[in-house]
Assembly symmetry: C2
Homo-oligomer: 207 residues x 2
């Protein structure tokens, strides 16, 4: 099975790259779909599942999640249930079909499956610009607030990564290709990365 994992800085266009890659190569695409699957399997609320996966908050931490909190207090058992369901589902996906998985530490979880691991990053100004173009709901944020948000999301991602690996999130050694998207159309990057990944699979004997 051919598996591409895309890890990415928030606002770098990694999600779009993953989608386009899947389209160009005819692979299945997984991102948010994994959260839905976990929610179905564990019978836990989807937003709650996402909070756990994205933040890995310390168990029993006295934090408010908006309304979700009152329905689902974070317990060690439900967090472990969700994380283990995530592992299981990602491995199930990977053993079934050629796929592109964005985020979710899939590069670590699927290590034994010999995935092609991409890291997508960009300069801060470029990420702010891309966020503005995409997310209408965040238009009210100032550049400084946007910068803070980007850093925060990435620090969660780094923390989640540290939860499953000794390597550092975003350190190039953990990936086969690291792409700086500053000033580039993701569409173009996708065309070239699709070719490269096919070549990578061939050279590494992955079928």
């Amino acid at each position: 099975m051919k598996i591409i994992t895309v890890s990415r800085e928030f606002g770098s266009g990694g999600r779009e790259l993953g989608k386009r890659l899947a389209g160009l190569l005819g692979f299945e695409y997984f991102d948010r779909e994994i959260v839905t699957a976990i929610s179905e399997q564990t019978k836990l609320n989807e937003n709650y599942v996402e909070s756990i996966i994205e933040n890995h908050l310390p168990f029993n931490f006295p934090v408010s999640f908006g309304r979700t909190f009152s329905y689902y207090p974070i317990t060690e058992s439900s967090a472990l249930k969700i994380l283990s369901a995530q592992h299981k589902i990602i491995k199930e996906i990977a053993s079934k079909e050629n796929c592109v998985i964005v985020g979710r530490s899939a590069n670590i979880i699927l290590e034994e499956y010999n995935p092609f691991n991409i890291f997508v990053y960009a300069e801060m100004d470029s990420k702010i610009k891309r966020c503005r173009e995409r997310a209408a709901t965040e238009e009210h944020l100032t550049d400084n607030e946007m910068r803070k948000k980007i850093k925060q999301v990435d620090s969660y991602r780094a923390k989640n990564h540290a939860f499953v690996s000794d390597t550092k999130w975003g350190a190039k050694e953990g990936y086969h290709l690291c792409i700086n998207t500053t000033g580039m159309e993701i569409k173009k990057i996708a065309e070239f990365t699709a070719q490269y990944s096919e070549c990578w699979f061939k050279q590494h004997g992955v079928e």
Copy 2:
């Protein structure tokens, strides 16, 4: 002018990639040629010039260089002469023709010229293997000795980089594309990187 800089870990195949890129794109190629040019311009021995450029040894450091040392003690003035000649020559090259420059901190020296900066790296086992395939003279080294040598050369490169920049050598943020060559033929990587760099120049308005 279109400029590609290739920074690389020792044994990762970066030099071959640079040469092939230049061939595929019809660009001039510079690496060792810069040392020769500095030597001609400063009238200093080529090996001596290389020692200074590669190691940036502290001035007046009581070190033996083999025979070279007895002819050319390192003085602050000759070291500065060499480093400033290197800056000048690299800028001259970059303002004259499309080119690929391997090493020499060209990515930093040419920052204002908007170069396309590549970093080439690989897993240690892959670098040892590549070194063995290339350099017949190093066949007598054990794996451990080879590993030590690779680390040493790279630590020199990191030090040289720190001499001209505040950024960290090899940290992906300083490059547009970071390529892990483990298990890959450099020839294949070159074909794809040539295409990508043409696309990068186009999207960044470099002609």
